[in-house]
Subunit: 431 residues, 2 copies
Amino acid sequence: MASGLGDLRTVVISVGNELLFGSTVDTNSAWLGRELAALGLPVSRRYTVRDDADEIRAAVAAGMSCSELVLVTGGLGPTHDDITRGTVSEMLGLPLKVDPGRLLQLQERFRQRGYDVLPEANRSQAEIPEGACVLDNPLGTAPGLAMESDGVLLVLLPGVPREMRAIFGGDLGALLRDRFSGRLAPVVHRMLHTTGVPESKLAEVIRAAFPDPAAYLGDGMSMAFLPDLRGVDLRLSVAHASAGEAESALNRAESALAPLVAPWRFDSESGDLAEAVLVALRRGRNTLAVAESCTAGIVSTRLTEHAGSSDVFVGGVVAYSNGVKQALLGVTTVALESGGAVSEVVAQQMALGVREAVGADVGVAITGIAGPGGGSQEKPIGTVWLAVSTDGGVRTECVLFTGDREAVRERAAQAALSLVLASVGHPSSRH
Amino acid sequence: MASGLGDLRTVVISVGNELLFGSTVDTNSAWLGRELAALGLPVSRRYTVRDDADEIRAAVAAGMSCSELVLVTGGLGPTHDDITRGTVSEMLGLPLKVDPGRLLQLQERFRQRGYDVLPEANRSQAEIPEGACVLDNPLGTAPGLAMESDGVLLVLLPGVPREMRAIFGGDLGALLRDRFSGRLAPVVHRMLHTTGVPESKLAEVIRAAFPDPAAYLGDGMSMAFLPDLRGVDLRLSVAHASAGEAESALNRAESALAPLVAPWRFDSESGDLAEAVLVALRRGRNTLAVAESCTAGIVSTRLTEHAGSSDVFVGGVVAYSNGVKQALLGVTTVALESGGAVSEVVAQQMALGVREAVGADVGVAITGIAGPGGGSQEKPIGTVWLAVSTDGGVRTECVLFTGDREAVRERAAQAALSLVLASVGHPSSRH
């Protein structure tokens, strides 16, 4: 049945020499793949082509011949190699016309940036193919464009990831839901976030409890392990015509898995452990100060990525050199000389010191060896001491992280957030 | 001329549901793009298809019709959804035959892993299309396979990135150099890094000086604008039979562009402005301390991403709350009450304060409104005050950044690094 539920397929076309040259990794496509599947419009094919009119035409024609929805990303910028808009509008016989409203908007945007006149190069971004629907780009100068042709919806999006995502999250999502309404079988996901456990260990624990995945995954449900430097997310996915049925199936699977992953699980809307820490701090009416040596600002940066963090996060010290550890955190010469900068005592003094220096309820400290230099037989690269100081006392932890400099720093920051959550997350841990 | 130098084009086909579904970001393609371009076999098109025989056949046929080299990655594993080998061998009429040598090798490999018998699923990995050349995989059980058909070289590679890379670095690289010998024109790149200027402005400046790109781009040379939140890179690319010729052509283009981009240009091996700042600090034997409010650790994190930064970067203060600005940086109540936390005086006091608190030669401070809350008519979201304090005095700058919270923070951090570079980069700026 050509118009049945769940038969919708999407073709994505990525335009850009830099993608084929490999100077840019195409993260847009994976993001679009997830979002489109969630909407019920799974991607069936992807073409990546050069900034070349013949190549773009061939890919668009191929996409339109096998799909009802073709998304093209890239090539909407203001420079000479951005030719997607012109090529597609010519191909579909929709002449480009300057949109007066768009032009005013662009002029205003550039005035705010301090330009008296709109650069000539940006004028082309006010040109709209006749009859096209303009999709607002809240983060840039190139709007998205949607056109109907031969029963196919063709959408042009800028290649800049954050702009593409913003358009998808706004006008485009609404348009797709409306255009394909009644025919979408959305894939519904449920995420279980974990940290501090390797993917292989998680898989083993689950396999030991359920040798047959059918015992916890219902009909048509799949589970994916999504690991990164911060942890492993378990993603349960199921396509259903009814959201209620999908919810019940996901609830059953989550109930079966919950006791197995409990030791490493955290809850967070965004999937970011820093957000879970902020929520826990707010709940306990605690403020937090951070002292970072090897992570040098990663923990503070992550906490402040979330708007409104200033109600519980006050700041802290990047104590990269021993001099700063002593001058601002009161770390003692004795501690530095006896155990070295990467030691339990120094971590304790840093956590206590930052808490006192800024008058916060909780202080967390990280000191470690991120590499590539600085390792020794006794303290190899990846050795990190963590400490959390509260009214209840100081809690410390030593971890040996694997990986390169970037991996050690990311993992150490994540472990520090974990230790804060463990220290303030449960009322019983505060005396 | 069909067999001339530089006319070689490659088609890459990535096979895998997880790529289209978006659970995996396709990093293989970017890596292959770089390696193939460097070899002189630039990728002209990329197809991404499902683990489906019809889809694989259609993509291989399309690739073979427009190219002399088709690389297929993915679908060579031992599980039921790995169908690339079987589909392609059937399509080309090359029956699969068990290769006795491969079979022994596989059995040996599994014995080493502690298996008495080769799992049935892995037996298929000893099957080779008749006449195919086996490309050794030193890191896994699926070898690469190379086949000639209708004048096209078709290569199958496993999708696991490290295995794919190992095969390319070994047998496949040698095979390609040999097969296309005398016709390879490797592509050489040159990067010009800029910051603090929008892409459209750069394009306009260059167009104003050279209405005809041929005036600065030599024969066969192309230039791409690669913008992100931190700045715009200009990438010059040229394919040449001789590396010396390529260098001369790139030198000529760079000389023509250099005076135009000079106001915004910086030099850095990695392309990161933070690295340029570290180099300038080292050259002037200066140490740096950082006081961050709205960026809350981004500048410190970026500086310390580079190993060895501890010789010039000492640390600093994340002064998110006013209390921390006062307690650790000596910001005065008068300054906070008269101009507010986002003001020139507070930025000056922060820069001077952090420099004195930790005894550094240079202090840099950032205080601003990242949003989404906190903006006002007088100080809209995106308003950021920057200050750099050196022996020569304090230099300040106020910038109104566009974009969301993430963009304002990234751009403010980049502008702070720029101001440090301007303050210490030229010996004349130090008294």
